[in-house]
Symmetry: D2
């Protein structure tokens, strides 16, 4: 049985700030900050993103994001290890064990990013596969590559040793104490447009390996866009999957997320969370070969983002360097009365969407709590209205709504004749709890 | 609020036997038969399929299925009426009222097929739209046609009089007593491959007109394949929608339906039923310009079809001429212990599928009833096995299974160590109730 | 044998200025102007563009470019005639005969635009097809429409009366004295993306009808983009075909034309001219529901356009209202030393193209005349260079080039060591005759 | 200037019989046979096909056609060399020099197959690129692979050392005496469906390297289907290019070739030959992991194939093991009166094609020689007719045709009233020389 989390994972991911080049000290600093200031609001995962095994990661950023044919930390069985020059505690084959323990001691959980498949160099060097009698060249498929990262070959389907390879890496990660695996180039293997879910068998092998490991590890699939026609497969074998390509601090991408959430609104379930990608707020981008910058989102746009991610039920992964968060952003990220919506008990549904605005409703079927969110797509403020009698989700529930509390502003609004009305600023949002 | 049927509709449709040319007497004969021999098993809808308004339907079958620029029964408002030469009781503007009353008197429900849009001739003749100040040419879109039927133009989006037109036809049908509308060229407007759900706005207008009419009318959308990325829209506005193109008595099409059911398995809900299309068994095809024939499906294939449709939760619409049903087929169609699975209380899920076979599970979450179905895709018999401990649906339920009753054969099988095993004939199926 | 013109047609077309609404007086005024000021430079065709049969053309320009289900001048055989309210000389069934005669008397040639197919209204009214025993509904295909104009249905392939219909309209046009037919919705039937040359059989019927008529009529196919994989078919049955969608006075479209000319450079031949579309210069757009405007092209861009069209060998059709041409533009359009390149004796080839510039060469294989054109795509002036020894076209010709005459500026440039160098303004062009 | 052969290349290729595993002795035996029995008829090229550098080629034929991560003969600069265990004369770094000399001594020409790009192993091992200061990892693009062969990475565009690499291999081949290079995975890089000519820059680098080498080397591009929209590029940089995917001895593929020849008929020119692929006749397939077989083509189908390839103007490359040719096949392949059509002086054009048959015409514009070919697609014999007055190619030539000589049968036929008529057997062809 796959891990069935009752709410969408909430955490921090190193990518948006550090690109490929985060190190141990930086990870610890972010974990310390989360434990001290955010854990109480529900944040718990600390995730080390892509290429922690690359010794020279980030050193040729003007030419390559991922240095081709670069120098990687790898064991005799073709398993990638943390680069010791970047993660000193990994020395002597300890891998991420010490770092995971550090994070666990803070009361948090530890996650890592991996690329689908087996290192190319392992295949070219015919390295043995742990726990099997085959070598890497027997299971590596030289025609299955990632279009944007040069590290791995896909693993073949139905060949001896393939499951053994995935078992060998997952059992290693489980020993280290890994709680969360973000596997990349797997949700949409976009270099193969005629077969963009070409690695479905690798998703299955990963999930089987996780269950064999006996550890409750969240399996997160990247990159998007996930294929809606494979929704049933993601739901069966994974815990979260990216519904868009990389998301950044750009209004067009945020506006587009409403189309993606419309598409995936029926697919949030216990242990199964369509993923809107990381939250690019606060300080960003130091590792990307240019100076760090402050998020390009306005405050209203950040409120829109948080409201949509929460009412839709997306996982929440912060992209910012946490230690540099300003007070306003920290407050935005620690509103427990709003973050509780990402629990599986709350079902969000799009009520209406047109060129100018969107309205979502949300119902907790156990407690009967009701919410409405307004979103303004326009370049100017506008009044948005919702006749609550028309909301399908509230059809079976009784009684009139007389009052609505706007959560971000903490203000009460009177509701006349079951019609909720408010003025919403440009690109902004309102989130109402109804009484 | 759209109609929320608790189970998928079950009925008879004139198309597979009569093509475009069914008449009143034939419809009545099928209704009589259903009332006498099938109603008790849950069958209730009698549906008159395509071109009941065409006076010459079927007379040029060697050249055309649908005679272009043919002679149609139409009122002064561009609303199509039953051709009186084929449906005598429709004389004097009574439409399908008398025939619907006849069907209702038998304790059954009455349905009709319509083509999306407004008659082309109404637009070319500038006929007035009932309940509005516009004429048909104002709302007809000459660039929106059906690729395979020449009767209609699509109705424009957001123009005055468009909703009035749909209101005008639906209120007429409601007056007649229509309980079920199968709208064609709308679920997939396949002549426009870059925009195959180009008539989404017409689905919305139809559902609004139905709700205005005050009558509980089932809205069924054709043809398929429905677009999985529009699942949320079908579920919001329609009651059933075709998940394949036309289905006929051919093993390849039946085999393919397993792929379609895999895709849509998570989308069956109260009032929302993905539709596997009509059941082509018994006598078929008299109207198709060739002699009638007996279904090309073997008995095992018919059992496979019935088992899949039921465990998946598809609507059941019989294509056969009912009065010519043989005893074996009538029995196949009236097994109440099996037909109860099409109720919304029973959730079917694919447990496994490979090149040789498929296994489905089914759970009634209220009663705890459990079912397993085996399907053999091979050209020879094979043994199929299922370890019941591995079935996700049964994970939360308690206790061991010691015994399984195969419903079609009514035989009990002992279950050893929670593993269910049986030999299944080529292209055949087994359906087990577990204890 | 189809018409084999030795050079690409040059003329005027009413569309860019008058849209659907040109009238007889306006056509005559443009013809008079051409005869007086441009004929001597080689201009000869006067073409009446789309919907000359529509009585109300242009009267609902805020809602429709082409009024659906509008009022058309049509004869008893379903053949469209000039609207007499717009073309008074067409009264008494004389059609375009008097207007063609007027144009011929000026020493010019007369052309018309037609839509592929047969009027929809003729099919719905079952009108007889001239010279056959069938009626329009027998040959009209209700599933074959134009995506953007509502007037016609396509004519079926291989049915009795289909060729008779095309013969009937072409013989009428030939009687009138038509020299040029621009048939629309035929080169790319873009509403059918999976079969965009779905009317290939209508092209063949048109060409056969033209040959039967005994008149040398140029057959021009619209709209583009033509399909390069059908090049052989266009070349066999037509005289010119549009290689882009509609071209207007916009730099991006002009820049894009270099890609199209690259693609089609090998396909210019006697009687076969890939068509870059009309020249949108001078005064434009009066009929388009907004005030007329001066071309948005700079003078350098207009020189670029003329140079490319000429060296490539495209037909030249002026979109401007001729009577309002200023002196600079009139000079641009009457440079006989440049216009001679559109003759089939001159073969143009792309020598190089990159992001910043393009270079073309041109050779007259009979006289040995050599040309080089430079084009600057950049937003700033740049120096462009061409080593003439590298030009494939000049490989078989002898001797050094010592001197180049830039034709637009009429200046001589010295050529050092066979390398031609010049500074070209932003978006501008240079055209050199080599000695 | 690229090599401008006056006729399409004719030769032998090892693939259809030997797959990846031909050796020196076998190549010599075929060369000896060609010199003795076929050279006089115009045959001249001896081509060693794919993976001559793979030491173990063919040893795992049950699992792989191309062994992934296998053992290759390679020099210190990442240049592949003939496997000495298969080509003993290549010992001591002599490469194909001795074998090329052997072939040249027979009065024939020598060709080799290469895969586009640089060996993957060279990139992973950072081998130096000859004649440059870079290493293989600098120029190899890890995201550019072949979908079906695991040996190479594509070479990057516009990076230092890329042209040097291609220069380094071509100069080596030129030193060896190579006359013909068949480069694979380049004409259609089919693993990238959105960009199937993704290696256009490598074609350009290859042609530049060939011209630098100073040797007249034919450049042949595989596999097909070539992209008609890139015709101008193939024509500019290559000498021949495959217009289909792999062709084998199967009627459906032969029938399909008529569609491909229709498409490419206008593209045969001096030094530029669209390529219908090898002739799979005689004994075939010994290397393919099953017993050798006799061509599945009937004699009539072989005549059809030879007639089409010749009148179209395709290169002719024999797939058979030459030493096992029977007399009938040898005669088919050595008909000089027919083979002369592959010269560039003869222009073939499709005159007509329908579901049942095709007719082609051919004209030598210098000598005025005229030919007609009939092809019967039906399963039974049929009479085919051609009115010679309708043939466009013959329109400018004078005089009546009174007599036609069918070349394969060497029989004269009287021509009545310029109409040529003959009965053609099923899947067969007739080729007439007209007088």
């Amino acid at each position: 049985m796959k891990h069935r989390m009752k709410k969408a994972p909430m955490g921090w991911n190193s990518y948006d700030y550090y690109d490929t080049a985060v190190n141990e000290e930086q990870v610890k600093a972010n974990a310390d900050f989360m434990a001290a200031h955010m854990k109480e609001a529900g944040w718990e995962y600390i995730v080390v993103d892509i290429e922690w095994y690359a010794k020279d990661a980030g050193t040729m950023r003007d030419k390559y994001q991922y240095i081709p044919f670069g120098d990687e930390e790898i064991d005799a069985y073709g398993r990638l290890l943390p680069a010791v020059n970047r993660f000193p505690s990994a020395a002597d084959g300890k891998g991420f064990g010490p770092l995971a323990a550090y994070v666990h001691n803070l009361g948090l959980k530890f996650g890592i990013h991996i690329m689908r498949g087996i290192p190319r160099i392992a295949a070219h060097q015919h390295m043995p596969v742990f726990g099997s009698s085959v070598t890497a060249n027997d299971i590596a498929d030289p025609s299955s590559i990632c279009g944007w990262n040069p590290d791995m070959y896909g693993v073949r389907r139905n060949v001896e040793g393939a499951q053994a390879y995935y078992d060998s890496i997952i059992s290693l990660y489980a020993e280290w104490g890994v709680d969360f695996i973000k596997c990349d180039d797997i949700c949409n293997t976009n270099v193969y447009p005629h077969n963009p879910y070409s690695a479905a068998h690798e998703v299955e092998m990963l999930q089987r390996a996780i269950q064999k490991s006996g550890r409750d590890i969240v399996l997160s699939l990247s990159p998007g866009p996930a294929l809606i026609e494979k929704a049933w497969h993601y739901e069966k074998y994974a815990n979260m999957w990216r519904i868009t390509d990389d998301f950044w601090d750009n209004w067009d991408l945020l506006r587009n997320m409403f189309d993606r959430c419309e598409l995936w609104q029926n697919h949030v379930a216990e242990g199964a969370y369509p993923d809107c990608d990381m939250l690019p707020l606060g300080k960003l981008g130091k590792g990307f070969g240019k100076p760090e910058w402050d998020t390009n989102f306005t405050k209203d746009e950040q409120i829109t983002m948080m409201t949509l991610w929460c009412i839709f039920g997306s996982p929440l992964m912060i992209g910012a360097e946490l230690t540099k968060l300003d007070e306003w952003t920290l407050d935005l990220l620690t509103r427990k009365d709003i973050l509780k919506l990402v629990s599986n008990d709350y079902a969000g549904r799009q009520f209406d969407k047109n060129e100018d605005c969107a309205v979502w409703s949300c119902l907790n079927q156990t407690t009967g709590e009701k919410y409405i969110a307004f979103f303004n797509f326009k370049e100017t403020a506008q009044e948005i209205q919702c006749d609550l009698k028309e909301v399908e989700q509230f059809a079976d529930t009784e009684g009139n709504v007389s009052c609505a509390k706007e959560l971000w502003s903490r203000k009460e609004i009177a509701v006349q004749g079951n019609v909720l009305t408010d003025t919403v600023p440009s690109h902004g949002a309102r989130l109402f709890e109804l009484h």
